[in-house]
Amino acid sequence: MTPPDGSKRNRSRRSLCVWAALAAVGSAGCENEIRPSGPDIAILESPSGTAMTATLDNPLLSLKKGNFWEMMAYRQNVGSSEVTVTRDRYVVHGPITVGGIAATEIRILRNGKTWRREVYRMNGPVLELVAAQDENSELMRYSPPVPLFKYPVREGDYLNWAGTFTIRGETLAARALSRISGQETVQTPAAVFKTLRVDTMIALGDGQIKFPSARWFAPGVGFVRRGYAEMKNPASAEVVRFGGQ
């Protein structure tokens, strides 16, 4: 039996309709839905809760003369299980001029002697590192000063720097990155503090020599914890006592 002519046309139309429907379904939707799922989902979620901030009214580091922080310092000696413990005293020593820049010096005393000097300045809303000097070394000067953070300070902010590093009359190109890596609760012998962690990396020349450091500041307190390299050994320090604020 031969189907009537209309039936043939109908089938051709039907096959075209199937393709058209598939195309329509394809273009209109029916996409692979992504449902938030999995044990590591927290990594992909937006940060919740109130973000911690710091302002000039309640600064992370006050450079008022006389402010001090007593820190327990721990140095892990590479290649051995030995840890050297010292009690360091950070004191805002007062104004100093370095390379024509008016700034403030913080002295770090170890066993009663100056072990390290750090020179900071407030440049408007920006705290900058002007120079630093390690024991048995000379003052290392950054030009222009390296910005560490800018008020109002917020988690995730960062500042780039490119300039020069001068020591013993020799000048090298350098670059740096300083960022507010996160808000962390830090337990120290003095108290438990809500802090903002500032990570800074200064790389000299082609990046072969680097000065990494981490500073945990609590608003209205100042230094709470520090992480740094001491004679190529990883070292850290935590506040035991602070005052003069």
Binding site: M1, P3, S7, K8, R11, S12, S15, L16, W19, L22, A23, A24, V25, G26, S27, C30, E31, N32, E33, I34, R35, P36, S37, G38, P39, D40, I41, A42, I43, L44, E45, P47, G156, Y158, N160, R175, A176, L177, S181, G182, D199, M201, I202, A203, G207, K210, P212
Partner: protein, 232 residues
């Protein structure tokens, strides 16, 4: 008693496919596949450049490994490794979409490297232009974690986080991608960006920040090239 013989007019009609009918179906299919193929080729001509400097990140060209290209049907590609002074690294790759395999799902792709998916969600990273598919993987052996963003970006800046081939034989997705390419045909590319989550970044916050910053800049750069009509 003789059985009644049904009259021809009252028999149930049987519709057998005729040669003409089948020819029409095959013909339409062939034409459609041909058109889809042409449109995919047209769409896959766009391969924009990746930026080489993003804020504190410096990018260095790093070609996509051959084994990865083979898994994706050997599309045209570009790769850049971004690094910063903290020695953190972000890997970025962009692929032309001249074939369906370019859209291979990251989950399927990473399984080949023995990484299992442990989280995924759509992240609206580019505002009204769209978002990315965020995925977290863990190494089956080492338990190290990788954070990856996957998206398809069109010349006008729109993105899609959902266009991916969950398996080589994913027919529905092929139909959808084919139909989309045929009807709209806007040139696009696939972008895959990932980072190893460092052990000291326990909750992955810094990795997320790094990824968000790099991916936003890549999106903007690709959008700009799309507008200018640049990119080979």
């Amino acid at each position: 008693m003789a059985l009644p013989v049904p009259r021809a007019e009252t028999a149930i009609p049987v519709h057998r496919p005729t040669f003409v009918g089948l020819t029409v179906v095959f013909g339409v299919t062939a034409i459609l596949l041909f058109v889809i193929g042409i449109r995919l080729q047209q769409r896959g001509r766009w391969l924009p450049e990746l930026p080489t400097e993003i804020g504190s990140w410096i990018g260095a060209r790093k070609d996509v490994p051959r084994i990865a290209l083979e898994a994706l049907g050997n599309p045209l590609s570009r790769g850049v490794e971004f690094s910063n002074v903290f020695e953190e690294r972000v890997q970025a790759q962009v692929f032309a979409t001249s074939d369906f395999e370019s859209y291979l799902d990251p989950k399927v792709f990473m399984a080949r490297y023995r990484y299992g998916l442990t989280a995924q969600r759509e992240i609206p990273l580019f505002g009204k232009d769209g978002g990315v598919r965020g995925l977290v993987f863990r190494g089956v052996e080492g338990n190290d974690r990788v954070l990856m963003y996957y998206w398809v970006q069109y010349r006008d800046g729109r993105t899609s986080a959902t266009e991916s081939l969950t398996q080589k034989e994913d027919l529905l997705t092929r139909v959808r991608l084919g139909a989309e390419a045929t009807l709209r045909g806007t040139e696009n590319c696939v972008v895959r960006v990932w980072v190893s989550i460092l052990p000291n970044d326990r909750n992955g916050v810094q990795s997320r920040r790094n990824m968000d910053e790099v991916c936003r800049a890549i999106h903007d750069s690709l959008k700009e090239q799309g507008r200018k009509g640049t990119g080979s």
